[in-house]
Every structure is written in C-alpha cells, then in structure tokens.
Amino acid sequence: MKNKFIHDMLVLDNKNLNTNYFLLTLQPPVEMPIVKAGQFAQVEIKDAKNTFLRRPLSVHDVNYKENTIKLLVQIVGEGTQKLSEIKKGESLNMIYPLGNSFSFPDSDNVLLVGGGCGIAPLLYLARIFSEKGIKVTTLVGGATNADILETDEYLKFGDVLITTMDASIGEKGLVTQHSIFKEDNFRFSKIYTCGPQPMMKALAIIAKEKGIPCEVSLENMMACGIGACLCCVVDTIDGNKCTCTEGPVFDYKELKGWN
C-alpha cells in the first residue's frame, strides 16, 4: 500500500494572517490519504531564483469531509515568501504525508506548547485528541501579539494560555515562565511541543522535573524529506536518526543533549 503521495494540490485559499504568517487551504486531486498529527509535507517552491529544494511544512489541520489540508506558514526567507504569494486557484505540488506522528498519551490531560509557527502541527493534534476525549490545553508563546495566531481555533478543543515577551497579550515572558508551571499541583500528564529548540529544551527540562513524558517536534533542515539523503539527522541514544522518517516527533529522552 502506498503511504506517500506527490499531489498537485489545488489552492482553495491563501489567508494572510498578518505580515508574517499565512494559512493555506489545499485540496488534493483525489481523496485525501490518512494523515496523522505531527506529519509534514515537502512543498515545491516554484519560480524562486534561489530556492532549490522543497520546504518542509507541518500539517496544520485536515478536514476529510471537505477533502482539505491546511498549512500555517511563517515567512522567514525566499521560499516561504514565494509561497505566501500563491493565489487561490493555483496549484501547489507537495509530497505528503511524511514522518512519524505524535503518540497518544496514557492519561487524559495534556498540554500542547507552541512557539511562533511551532503551533502549526498542534491544531490538528488538539483536534484528534479532543475527538478521542482527551482533555487538551494549548499554551502558545510569541514575541508579541502578532505571533499569537488562530487562538479561536485552538479554543474549540480546550483552554488556550498565552505568553508574549512584551505582554501585549497573555502573561509576560517565555512560555516556560507561564504561571501554570509554578502551580503547586501541575495539572498535566504529558507535554507535546513544537517551536524553537531552546523553548523545547526548556520544556523538556520541566517535563523531567515533573516526571512526565514530553514529545518534541524537530525542525531539522531537510533535503529529501523521505529518508533518502540522511541530511536531517538528530543525535539520539541509538545513534543518528532521520528527522524526516524516524521523526519529526521524538520523545525528548531519546535525544542526546536533551536530558
């Protein structure tokens, strides 16, 4: 059975969230394959002089009924800039679904923590968990309120907590400085996180202290995205593993230098 597909996706919508972020709604030419939370796509960037390789982007959300998939993207360089210019009705070539996925928790009160566009894979995760009756709380952090995106969506599946560096919205500081971590009785039984490495590492330390599991989603640079080039490796207790096939989601305990 085929697991990975190359599809020319139809762009149903390209919504500008603000100057730095946009949201693509895409439709495959055939029925959507099964996609798991935490998986990603390798997206072709056409017409860009200096962008040679595809760009890995997490699956932000999936709607099987409407046969659509969403990507939430932050503009950081030429590739994402070009992607932000794509128009409704155009097509976007992508390879998907790639990578492993977040795993289900053993107990039912979990915390999802996203920094910047690291929240991208967490919406679909929140959806899937809440469908299974798992209680989800999402904590999102950013420099300022422009980095706090789509909170309405996350609210559908549970509480949303916010931190910003400038206190323009939510509590002031880093996500790891949020008051929930200072509560005597830490409410959550597992942490799922995606975002900047320093943030994820800090969360791993908290998880360790609290003695709870924590899954992190890495954003290593990739060439192929399908396990062929061995460029995307991360150093684990079992040696180098491919972020694109054995990740992007890892138990932080597997990762060398993370605990």
Partner: protein, 301 residues
C-alpha cells in the same frame, strides 16, 4: 520503440538511467512514487567495513541551484547490508549496485570481497571520491598512484563489473580515468561532488558541522559535462555521467558528451518521481531524432 539498453562491463542495463549513490537510499524509499524496477540500475548508499554514524548535524546547505552535503558515509556497514538490506532488495528486477567506500585499502578490500559473494549484486561502484570523510575517501581519488593502488587491489578480489567513481576535485580528470582504466576498472563514473563550503554571514559560522561539504545539483552540471567529455575521449571503457542531471535533456547532454549511462542524484530530492520521466524523455527524444538505438547518440557531439 527505440532500443534503450546499454552495456557497462558485463552489465546490460535496460536503459541508461541509474540512481546515484547516497541520493536514493536503498531504493525502497521511492517505492511509493514509481516502480523502481523500471530503472537501468540502482546504486545504493556508500557502504563501509563497519557501521558509521557519519558527521554531526548540520550536514546540508542549500546553494544557488545546488546543495552541499556532509553526510560522511553514514551506513550500517557491509555485514548489516548483507544480512538485513540485501535480502529485502535483492529481488528487485533491476541491477542493484553497491557503492563501496573505506578509509584504507584493507577496508575497501574487505567490503568488496564480501560483496563479490552476493549473487544478486552484479557490480560495485568504488567510491574513491567522497569529500566528506577525514580519512581515505577523496584522498584516494585525487592522486593517480593511490587511485591505481586501490583499484588494482580491488580488481584482484572483485570479479564482477567494477565501476570506479572519480572525484572532480583534480587538475586532470582524464589522467585519473586512464589510471584506473589501466588498473582494471570496467567503467568509470563521474562526477562525485565538488568540495565546497557555505557560511552563515549573520551567525559568522560555517553552515556545515564539517565546514566543507560536497556540492551537487544543476550548479555543477557544466563542470560535470566537461569532465565526462574529457574522460570519454581519453578512455576506452564506458563512462557513466552524472552531476546535476534534472531532466531528460540534461541526461541526453551527458550521453552526447560520451556517457554510456547516467546517474540521477540530487534531482531525486526535488522530484522523487523524476527518473521515469527522464527515461520517457530519452525515448521521446530518440523518436523525435529518428534514432532507433540510444547507443547512436553516445559521444555524438
């Protein structure tokens, strides 16, 4: 339909399109995208005497029309290949060729003699041109005497088709090709990657953990094409051309320059289904140019 089959040593390829070592895994990674048995051959990942972890991350940098890699021959070693991987892939209906790497002649010898016993491996590609390892690798491929030494040694223990993969990081590649031809190679393949470097100006640091890495992709195509042309004129054994091939037109350019077959490397990352498109494109080209046999265009310029 024009004939697409070509001959490399004792190997008859169903068509001239193979995949380049290190860019196509063990083939299985591409099963979802196309029927890999339609390929002329698959050259699997560089295999060494024992397991190697390769270089630390970051191992990759994007460059204009290309990329640098510093994977450094990460692989599980020849014994693991034989016990775990070979049984899985050996019955693929195309030639599976193993890229053999090492730090010392002894290591090359050990790998090659073990592979010599595998019924379904009809050829090896001797990688004397890997720029991403501290010892051996490219060092063998940048001096004639050492290229001769390793090729002669392997020739003694390896009795099937022996392809030697040349390094482009040399003053005179035709001389290198002639040296390994004289030492018993049945074919040469070129080019491996060009030694390059990327720097992150903002962080003021090299991008790769190893500082330098190997450049591949369309950026290197003009250099690869020139080298293939020079080598094809210099040797009598068949030449396998690669370096930046992205489409059928590129592949045909290499064949016109003198390559009997081609390998597709980095292009697999951009489009994992590019190889069958290239095979079809070659066929269309031959029909358009009224050729009945792909061998007619080899070295035609």
């Amino acid at each position: 339909m024009p004939n697409l089959s070509v001959r490399i040593g004792n190997l008859v390829l169903k068509n001239p399109v193979m995949t380049a070592s290190g860019t196509f895994g063990y083939g299985e990674e591409f099963d979802d995208f196309f029927d890999i048995s339609t390929l002329g051959g698959i050259i699997v990942k560089g295999t060494t005497g024992s397991k190697r972890e390769g270089n630390p991350y970051p191992r990759m940098a994007e460059t204009p029309s290309g990329m640098l890699n510093a994977v450094g021959l990460q692989n599980k070693g020849v014994d693991n290949f034989i016990s775990d991987i070979y049984p899985r892939i050996k019955d693929t209906d195309t030639h599976i060729i193993v890229n053999v790497s090492g730090s010392t002649i002894d290591e090359y010898l050990m790998v090659a003699s073990k592979l010599n016993e595998l019924e379904k491996i009809p050829a090896i590609e001797l990688n004397i041109s890997c720029p991403n390892v501290k010892e051996g690798g490219m060092a063998f491929g940048t001096s004639c005497p050492s290229a001769i030494a390793v090729t002669e040694a392997i020739r003694k223990v390896y009795h099937k088709t022996l392809i030697v993969k040349l390094s482009p990081n040399v003053t005179n590649i035709a001389e290198m090709a002639k040296a390994v031809e004289g030492a018993g190679a049945d074919s040469v393949s070129l080019i491996n990657t060009l030694l390059g470097m990327a720097i992150d100006a903002e962080r003021q640091k090299p991008v790769l953990s190893t500082i330098t890495g190997g450049l591949s992709g369309p950026a290197v195509k003009p250099i690869a094409l020139r080298m293939v042309w020079q080598v094809a004129k210099a040797v009598k054994i068949p030449v396998i051309g690669l370096g930046g091939i992205m489409n059928a037109a590129d592949a045909i350019e290499f064949m016109l320059a003198g390559a009997t077959a081609v390998q597709i490397g980095t292009a697999n990352f951009i489009d994992p289904a590019v190889c069958p498109k290239i095979i079809d494109g070659i066929q269309d080209y031959l029909i358009r140019h009224r050729n009945t046999d792909v061998n007619e265009i080899i070295g035609k310029i």
